[in-house]
């Protein structure tokens, strides 16, 4: 009859109370663990998307809105800037690469992004079926967008103003052809529909070739010869088209110095604004973090409540077992043995509560990840969050702390008084 087996026997002797202690600890632990996993997932996903882009340049306005709309695609665009501005950026010594982005439309809630194919390289996206867009009005779907809309290669669709999906105005005269499907990346790419910048400009009444010699433009020549767009080519009066605009430019620095100098230069000397996704996302975490902190505080209160419950249960059980403990001393148990006996009981309950809490948290996360994948094709990991080891150690420490008053009391038990019935 070791310390552990006696502690286990005592726990089994009061199954209801012990189960309640374990359940309360499990609930608190699970809540905190779930919050940790969710926070980590949220931050990792946003950081991964943000880290792919050094800087975003777009119309003046809110820098966070600029980043949210062009990097994460969760907000309305700030506005457009002249496509001419690309020249300033392309010729800048501190800039390695400029990727234009033209936004404005969507399809069934998935944003249509006019951009270069080099955008896909930022996120390591690869074609799963078909090919990348080449001609005007060719579209390539991200994995989630394809799965959710049900479109496949060869299908045709029309874009809608805004994100679409709410029955708004559509561009019926500009049907897109699906020419490619991307493999899942776990990034924002999965939820986008890609086409060329020129297509978005064309759909929105701009002249993509405003500054170019039409005769020299091979792509445009192909486009004009395209049977599907013959009407468009014939009907459009290019004289009525506006000069081309884009929503933003994604910029890749050629030197780390650019991170400091370039945003200031752009903000002060151009009609555009520069925003750094990494900085804006940290700002967003700080804002969102307050809400998470409040929920976390409630979870901590839940754990503390559970530990107080454990303390009360152990203390009450001690009163009921004073004779048992006194007899153990009579049989030769030292004061230290009785001390550890109480701590061992608390540890068993705490470990059980913690393990159950973690199983519960990861089970819920696993279920949520299956649901999210099945319904939204969102990849969510239910792997361990970084802080869970600390959480386990903290709960175990609290469990030991809860046992200390009872353990000390057990060690100091007055044997003659207890055994004589006092």
């Amino acid at each position: 009859m070791s310390i552990w087996s006696l502690a286990w026997a005592w726990i089994r002797f009061r199954p209801l109370g012990a189960s309640l202690n374990v359940a309360l600890l499990a609930l608190g632990t699970a809540t905190i663990a779930l919050l940790m996993m969710a926070s980590q997932q949220f931050e990792q996903r946003l950081s991964a998307d943000a880290d792919a882009v050094d800087m975003v340049v777009g119309a003046k306005g809110s820098p966070m809105q600029l980043v949210l709309s062009t990097v994460f695609h969760v907000d309305a665009p700030v506005g457009n800037v002249s496509a001419e501005e690309a020249r300033f950026l392309e010729q800048h010594a501190m800039i390695e690469e400029v990727i234009p982005m033209a936004l404005g439309d969507g399809f069934r809630g998935y944003r249509i992004v006019g951009t270069d194919t080099s955008y896909l390289d930022l996120y390591g996206a690869e074609v799963a079926e078909g090919r990348l867009w080449d001609e005007p009005l060719e579209a390539v779907f991200g994995a989630v967008a394809a799965a959710q809309t049900g479109l496949g290669l060869g299908d045709r669709f029309v874009g809608e103003h805004g994100l679409g999906g709410v029955g708004g105005p559509t561009h019926d005269e500009f049907p897109y052809d699906v020419v490619g499907l991307l493999a899942p990346t776990g990034s924002v790419v999965d939820r986008l529909v890609f086409t060329s910048v020129a297509t978005v400009q064309l759909v929105h009444g701009m002249d993509p070739d405003h500054d170019h010699d039409h005769a020299d433009d091979e792509n445009h020549a192909d486009h004009a010869a395209d049977e599907d767009h013959a009407d468009h080519a014939d009907d459009e009066d290019h004289a009525d088209l506006r000069p081309p605009e884009v929503t933003a430019f994604l910029v890749d620095f050629s030197t780390p110095m650019a991170a400091v100098a370039l945003p200031r230069e752009i903000n002060q000397s151009t009609v555009m604004q520069a925003a750094r996704p990494a900085y804006e996302i940290r700002r967003l975490f700080r804002l969102v973090g307050y809400g998470a902190d409040v929920v976390r505080a409630f979870a901590v209160i839940l754990v503390i409540g559970a530990v107080l419950g454990l303390f009360t249960a152990l203390f009450q059980a001690l009163e009921e077992r004073r004779a048992d403990l006194a007899v153990m001393r009579v049989l030769g148990a030292t004061q230290l043995r009785l001390f550890w006996q109480i701590v061992a009981e608390s540890l068993i309950l705490t470990v059980a509560g913690t393990v159950l809490g973690l199983v519960l948290a990861h089970g819920v996360a696993w279920g949520a990840s299956l649901w999210l994948w099945e319904h939204n094709q969102i990849l969510v990991s239910f792997a361990w969050a970084d802080g869970e080891v600390v959480l386990v150690l903290a709960v175990l420490a609290l469990g030991i702390l809860a046992a200390l008053p009872s353990a000390v009391r057990a060690a100091r038990i007055d044997i003659p008084r207890v055994l004589s019935g006092g």
Binding site: M1, S2, L6, A9, W10, R12, F13, A323, D324, A326, V327, M328, R329, V330, L331, G332, A333, T334, Q335, L336, R337, I415, P416, L419, S420, G421
Partner: protein
């Protein structure tokens, strides 16, 4: 032969040459912080002897057992058990000495309610530093006629059965000294007789020194040696 002694009187028992007595009290005064309960008590018990400690309530019978078990230390004088002065031992060493050499049976059985009968005996052997041998436990339960209750929880036992299990728990550690504090007080005549008989028989078998306190007249005749404490108020 029956020897009645009043407290504070030295017992004239002839020890074997060179043998350390089981119990040796010299001018021992002990109490609970207030007036002494036992004062200047001299008492010598040789190994293997069976003693009955008698006296009215409050005469110090239980206090004497608490002293011998090391729960109390003498305010004056010395108290040696198996040649060891318990008061000189550090508390953990005193606990280990008690576990390794003594066993106590109480008026109330004080069995651990969360454990079954076998587990109660196993716990006793473990705390005494012995291997919790199932064979020894089963044999002990068999000798006391409670082997049928090996897997039974104490709450399901009658008072008489529980007292025999408590006795088994004391005997399973094969103690050199067996202390019994009013073990028959709450039992009916038949159970009191059975427990007293088992107690003396098993102590005899193990060669244990037995000290039993009682004011139960039913068991007096079983003991040849008696230590009377306090004023007995009679002839």
């Amino acid at each position: 032969m029956t020897d009645d002694f009043q407290a504070s009187r030295r017992l004239e028992t002839a020890p074997l040459p060179g043998e350390v007595p089981a119990i040796e009290l010299v001018a021992t005064t002990v109490g609970y912080g207030g007036p002494p309960v036992l004062e200047a008590l001299d008492w010598r018990v040789e190994r293997g002897e069976h003693w009955l400690v008698i006296g009215p309530s409050g005469s110090g019978k239980s206090t004497l057992l608490h002293l011998l078990a090391g729960f109390l230390t003498p305010a004056k004088g010395t108290a040696k058990v198996l040649g060891t002065e318990l008061a000189t031992l550090a508390p953990p060493a005193r606990d280990r000495f008690r576990g390794g050499n003594m066993a106590i049976v109480f008026q109330r059985q004080h069995l651990v309610q969360a454990l079954n009968v076998t587990q109660n005996l196993s716990l006793a052997r473990r705390l005494a530093g012995l291997d919790p041998s199932p064979e020894v436990i089963q044999a002990t339960l068999g000798r006391l006629g409670v082997d049928a209750f090996a897997r039974t929880r104490p709450a399901a036992l009658s008072v008489g059965e529980a007292q025999r299990v408590a006795l088994a728990r004391a005997l399973v550690v094969e103690p050199k000294i067996l202390l019994a504090d009013e073990p028959t007080a709450s039992l009916d005549d038949r159970n009191a007789d059975t427990v007293a008989e088992l107690l003396t028989q098993e102590a005899e078998r193990l060669g244990s020194t037995l000290v039993m306190t009682t004011h139960d007249a039913r068991v007096r005749e079983r003991f040849a040696r008696r230590l009377a404490l306090g004023d007995l108020g009679g002839p």
